[in-house]
C-alpha cells in the first residue's frame, strides 16, 4: 500500500493504517458496482456465442465451451419478424437511411438557429427560443397524433422522410441550445470585424463560425447519432413495418411469441443493435460526456 503516500487528496494527513483500509473499502465497493454494470454485457456476449444445447444445460456465466458465430449470422440475415425472414440487416439498413439525413438536417437547422440567436438577435427571437426550450419538456405523447395528421397532409406519413423531419424537430431544442451557447462564447470583435469587411449573415456563418465550431459539431453529431439510433417510439409510429428502424425490428424479433426462444440468436441481435452507440461511446469518450453534459444543462 505504498501508493497511499502519493495521494495528496482530501483525506490527506490521516494515520496511515486507517487510510489504506479506507482505500481497500473504496476499491471493493467500486469493483462490486462495476461487476453489476458489466454483468449484463458479459452474459450477452457469452450467451451469443453458445449453441442452444449448451445454453439449456449450462451456467449462464460459464464461457462457451464451443465458440460459435452461427447465432450472429442468423440474427443478422435469417431471424424472422412476422413473414419477413431476412434478419436484422433490413433494420440496420433502414436505421442508416434514417440516421444520415436526420443527423445532417437536424444539425444544419440547429446550428443556423443557434447562430441567428446569438449573433443576429431580432425582436421576438428570445421568445421563440424560450418556447423551444420549454417544448423540450412536453411529453412526446401530447404531440404525436397532430404530427401524424400533419405528416399525412404533407404526404410523408409512413415514409423515411417523415421520420427524418420528426427527428429534426425533436432534436432542435437541445441542439439549438448547444449551438447558441457555443456561438455566444465567440468573441464579439471577430463578428464585428467580419461585418466591417462586408460579410453578411451566410458569409459569416460559412466562413467564420462553421470552421470554428467544429468541436461542437462533433458533440452534436455524437448526441444525435446515439439518440436517433436508439429511438423506438418515433420509429414505430411514423414508419411502416417494412421501414422499421433496427430497435423496432429487434423488439419484434425478440418478443415474438411464436416458436422456441433462441436466446443465443436474440442476444446476438441485441448486441448488434447496441453495437453502434457502444462503439461511438468508447471511441468518443470525453466528447460523449460533453454531449450529455450539454443535455443535462437543458435539464
Amino acid at each position: 500500500m505504498d501508493k497511499s503516500i502519493e495521494v495528496t487528496g482530501p483525506s490527506g494527513a490521516k494515520p496511515r493504517r486507517r487510510f489504506s483500509r479506507n482505500k481497500i473499502m473504496l476499491y471493493g465497493v467500486l469493483i462490486v458496482m462495476a461487476l453489476y454494470y458489466l454483468l449484463p454485457l458479459y452474459v450477452m456476449v457469452v450467451t451469443s456465442m453458445k449453441g442452444m444445447p449448451e445454453i439449456r444445460i449450462g451456467n449462464v456465466f460459464a464461457p462457451p465451451v464451443e465458440i460459435t458465430f452461427q447465432p450472429w449470422v442468423k440474427a443478422w440475415s435469417e431471424a424472422c419478424t412476422g413473414i419477413n425472414c431476412d434478419g436484422l440487416s433490413r433494420g440496420f439498413g433502414n436505421s442508416i437511411q434514417i440516421l444520415i439525413p436526420s443527423v445532417f438536417l437536424s444539425i444544419l437547422i440547429a446550428s443556423v438557429n443557434g447562430y441567428a440567436l446569438s449573433n443576429w438577435k431580432f425582436k421576438g427571437s428570445e421568445v421563440f427560443f424560450t418556447i423551444l426550450v420549454i417544448g423540450a419538456f412536453i411529453p412526446y405523447q401530447v404531440m404525436l397524433y397532430p404530427i401524424v395528421i400533419i405528416l399525412r397532409e404533407l404526404g410523408l406519413y409512413g415514409s423515411l422522410w417523415g421520420l427524418v423531419l420528426v427527428h429534426s424537430v425533436f432534436g432542435m431544442p437541445i441542439l439549438t441550445l448547444l449551438f447558441r451557447n457555443y456561438f455566444s462564447s465567440v468573441p464579439e470583435e471577430l463578428f464585428k470585424a467580419a461585418r466591417v469587411d462586408g460579410a453578411g449573415f451566410w458569409g459569416i456563418y460559412f466562413k467564420i463560425m462553421l470552421p470554428m465550431a467544429l468541436p461542437i459539431f462533433v458533440v452534436a453529431i455524437i448526441l444525435q447519432v446515439t439518440g436517433i439510433w436508439n429511438d423506438f417510439l418515433f420509429g414505430v409510429i411514423f414508419t411502416e413495418p417494412s421501414l422499421y428502424p433496427m430497435t423496432v425490428q429487434l423488439n419484434n424479433i425478440v418478443n415474438s411469441v411464436q416458436g422456441v426462444k433462441e436466446y443465443n440468436v436474440n442476444m446476438a441481435a441485441t448486441l448488434l443493435t447496441g453495437l453502434l452507440p457502444l462503439v461511438i461511446y468508447l471511441v468518443s469518450g470525453k466528447l460523449f460526456v460533453r454531449g450529455i453534459a450539454a443535455g443535462a444543462v437543458k435539464g
Binding site: 411529453p139 424537430v169 450529455i292
Partner: protein, 304 residues
C-alpha cells in the same frame, strides 16, 4: 440582399420586418417548430381531449367525460401507481447511486477513467436493448434464479417479472442500470467544480470526510442536484420503450405506464380522445414538476 447594414436605423424605421431579414428566414424552422409543433400540437391535443373522438378526431365536445372515464379505468390507475413507484424509487436510487459513485471516483483513485466508462456505458444503449437484457437476467429459467439454484439453493425464488406485485421493481432495476451513470457524470462534474480550499479548510478543522460531504459539499451542490432531479423526473414521465421491451406491460397489466396507455388508446384501441385525455394528464404532471423548478431558476437568476 443585406441592405440593412448600410443604414440600419432608417431602413428598420421604414420597414421594420426587413431588418435582419436573413436571420429571420434562417430562424423560420425554429419558429415553425416552436409555434406550430410545440404550442400548436399541444393545444390541439388538449382541445380534442374534451371531445368524444374515436377512430377519427372530431369536434364533438363532451366536457370532462373523457377524464372521468380515464380516472375510473383500472388500467390507468395502475399506470399512475406504477409511475409513482418507479418515479420515486428511481429518483432516490439514481441520486443515491449517482452521488455515491461520483464521490468514490472523486477520491483520487487509480483507473478512474476505466471505472467511469464502465458505469456510463449502459447510457449509450437504448431502452429496448436495456429492457431485453434485463428480461433475460431476471428470467427464472435463464438468469439469476437458475444460477443460484445451480449453486445448491434449490428453493431459491427470484422471478420479479412474473410476480405482479414485484414486476415494476424489475423494470426499476433495469432503469437504474441504464440511467445512473449519467447522474454520476453530472455529480462528478459538480464535485470537480468545488474549490480545493474548502477541502483544506475542513481538514484543518478536523471534520471527517463523510461529514464534510453531508454538511458542506451537498448543500454547495444544490444546483447540480436540482438539475439531476429535473433530468430524472422528465425522463420518468416518458418511460415507454423500457416497459415495452421488458414486459410489454405484463404480467396482466402489472407494469403498465401512462405513456403506453396513451399509445395503445391512440394507435391500437382507436379510442383517440381517451389517448388525448391521458396525454394531457401527462403534460399536467410534467408542469407540476417543472413550474416550481422554473420559478426557482428564474428567481435565482434575477438575484444573481
Amino acid at each position: 440582399m443585406d441592405r440593412s447594414k448600410n443604414s440600419p436605423e432608417s431602413e428598420s424605421a421604414r420597414r421594420p420586418w426587413l431588418k435582419n431579414i436573413n436571420a429571420k428566414i434562417a430562424a423560420l424552422p425554429m419558429i415553425i417548430t416552436a409555434l406550430g409543433i410545440f404550442v400548436g400540437c399541444s393545444i390541439w391535443t388538449i382541445v380534442h381531449s374534451f371531445t368524444n373522438s374515436r377512430l377519427l378526431p372530431k369536434m364533438d365536445f363532451v366536457g370532462l367525460d373523457q377524464y372521468e372515464r380515464l380516472w375510473s379505468t383500472r388500467r390507468w390507475l395502475v399506470s399512475i401507481e406504477n409511475l409513482a413507484i418507479y418515479g420515486i424509487c428511481s429518483l432516490i436510487l439514481s441520486l443515491l447511486i449517482g452521488f455515491t459513485l461520483a464521490t468514490l471516483l472523486d477520491r483520487k483513485i487509480r483507473f478512474e477513467g476505466v471505472f467511469r466508462s464502465i458505469f456510463l456505458y449502459p447510457f449509450a444503449l437504448s431502452f429496448i436493448v436495456t429492457g431485453l437484457v434485463w428480461q433475460w437476467i431476471l428470467n427464472p429459467e435463464f438468469g439469476v434464479q437458475k444460477i443460484v439454484r445451480a449453486m445448491g439453493f434449490e428453493n431459491f425464488v427470484f422471478d420479479p417479472l412474473y410476480d405482479p406485485q414485484l414486476a415494476i421493481y424489475g423494470i426499476l432495476i433495469a432503469g437504474i442500470w441504464q440511467g445512473s451513470g449519467l447522474i454520476m457524470v453530472i455529480m462528478l462534474a459538480g464535485l470537480r467544480g468545488i474549490d480545493e480550499d474548502i477541502w483544506k479548510a475542513t481538514r484543518v478543522d478536523g471534520i471527517p470526510t463523510w461529514k464534510t460531504y453531508i454538511v458542506v459539499i451537498i448543500p454547495m451542490m444544490r444546483g447540480v442536484f436540482v438539475t439531476a432531479l429535473v433530468l430524472i423526473a422528465s425522463g420518468i414521465v416518458k418511460v415507454y420503450d423500457l416497459v415495452v421491451a421488458q414486459t410489454s406491460g405484463g404480467p396482466g397489466i402489472a407494469t403498465e405506464v401512462p405513456a403506453k396507455y396513451v399509445y395503445d388508446k391512440m394507435f391500437a384501441a382507436q379510442n383517440l380522445a381517451q389517448g388525448f385525455a391521458a396525454s394531457t394528464m401527462m403534460l399536467v404532471t410534467v408542469a407540476i414538476i417543472l413550474v416550481p423548478w422554473a420559478y426557482l431558476e428564474f428567481k435565482g437568476k434575477k438575484r444573481g
